[in-house]
Amino acid sequence: MFFNEEFETLPREALQALQLKRLKAMVARVEKSVPFYKEALAKAGVTSDSIKTLADLQRLPFTYKQDMRDSYPYNLFAVPMEDIVRIHASSGTTGKPTVVGYTRKDIDTWSELMARSFVAAGVHKGDIIHNSYGYGLFTGGLGAHYGAERLGASVIPMSGGNTKKQIMIMQDFGSTVLTCTPSYSLFMAEAAKEEGIDFRDLKLRVGIFGAEPWSEEMRRDIETKLNLSAVDIYGLSEIMGPGVAIECCEAKKGLHVWEDHFIPEIINPETCEVLPEGQMGELVITTITKEGIPLIRYRTRDITSITYEPCACGRTHARIARMSGRSDDMLIIRGVNVFPSQIEAILMGVEGVEPHYVLIVERKDNLDTLEVQVEVGENIFSDEIKHLQALSAKIEKQIKEMLGVTCRVRLVEPKSITRSEGKAKRVIDNRNKA
């Protein structure tokens, strides 16, 4: 099923021709209207007229998150404020948030891409979408909301938090689709269980989970506990919000990037060279239709790989692999690169272990130490110390073997790890505090 079959299945040659045309037009716009890009393009020696093929994209300069911070709040906008109909901002955990503006056409594009994403996930008109992404400055809530309305489904604008009410509404309103972060879906299932409600008995059929990295093992866990088909969605406010890329329910093997609006590249984050298909690196995105705040080669800091192979669903748009984490989430422990998602995958491969964990990194005598806190639920609890110690040792051994890093597993009581209603906090890095 498609929402916009013509564009979703455009032959690659036609898709690339469209990308080139749109890329040139976008560069022509920003070299006139955005002083930052005027300067950056001049420095790189590129003009819109000199772009002849898609390979010329590699001659364009990168845009970094810091550039957006430096342009706070409106200096990267490419249109006058009277053409901006919506403003969003990133969560900005450190310092000022990054601000993005949308024209009416941008909102229209976003709604369509989100509607396409819903359909790709297996959602249709008649579905009741329980939207637990936060409404507000964060793009998640409104992005999913507009897409749901564009599709013509019924959307319940729940936003995050107030878990008990969420569960009641889901049960009473007969929600068939759930949109939230993967960790919050499990949190809700757990909270429901305490109220004597089994999520598997609800009408939920599809779950669209994003805004934080998660693993294939966690998908299996969610699908079992919530009895629904779980797909991964990707987006970031700088580029648009949710709906930049989505997994199709037919294959669930990589997320289709809507290439008629975005050009993805994978680069080596250190050398900045563009990597071939299949290699892991940092995702870089160029927005080719955006009016409010077009971005050239934006460094997402998300780590993934890309494939252009045809997909079972019939969409011709390239697929990026499930995110392995953010390049800035990446921990370097005694010189070894470790993503929290890799540890999660190992933990969830151990029988009975719940996906509630925290990684604590410290530096003792100039040596990094990694502690993995794992909750002891009834499934893994043993009355005998030796069994629990064997479990810790098993996890430590697997992490050592698979990631090459020595860690210490600490077993903790259930719920001692803070539950998150939004993005799960998985890492406590105490190294820079001392």
Partner: protein, 143 residues
């Protein structure tokens, strides 16, 4: 002849033991005896109480991980060599003791030991075969 014991996972953290015992006290559960096995990170508190089900329910409600295990209570003459005699009998039959601890109350002139065996039923058969007095759970819960 089995005795029900509950085991609770406790982090090695200030005040946890106090909290468990307070929860049980508030629920009117009387602890008959206990043992604590500990490591540097966590401990396992093993309890024999007058109301196993109630203890389990109230602790689970408060978020503790609790399990129920079957142990064996045996009367042992309170004299030098009393415990050695019983362990010798078990050893002769190849029965492993996973852990053991003493019951607080005496049973007449005898001490009472709580055992966790790898093969509970075989252990009971061996002990009763050698005329050791294995106490039923009900006796302990109300002692």
């Amino acid at each position: 002849m089995h005795v029900e014991q509950i085991s609770i996972f406790i982090e090695n953290k200030f005040g946890r033991l106090a909290e468990v015992t307070r929860i049980l006290g508030d629920a009117g559960v009387n602890i008959r005896t206990l043992s604590l096995a500990d490591t540097s990170d966590f401990g396992i508190l093993r309890l024999i109480v007058n109301d196993t089900e109630k203890a389990r329910t109230v602790l689970k409600e408060r978020g503790f991980t609790v399990s129920k295990t079957e142990v064996v209570a045996v009367e042992i003459p309170d004299r030098p060599g009393g415990l050695a005699d019983i362990l010798q009998v078990l050893d002769a039959d190849g029965i492993n003791v996973e852990y053991m601890y003493a019951f607080v109350e005496r049973c007449g002139e005898n001490a009472v030991m709580i055992f966790r065996f790898d093969e509970t039923d075989k252990a009971i058969a061996t002990l009763t075969g050698k005329s050791f007095n294995v106490l039923p759970g009900e006796r302990l819960y109300s002692m």
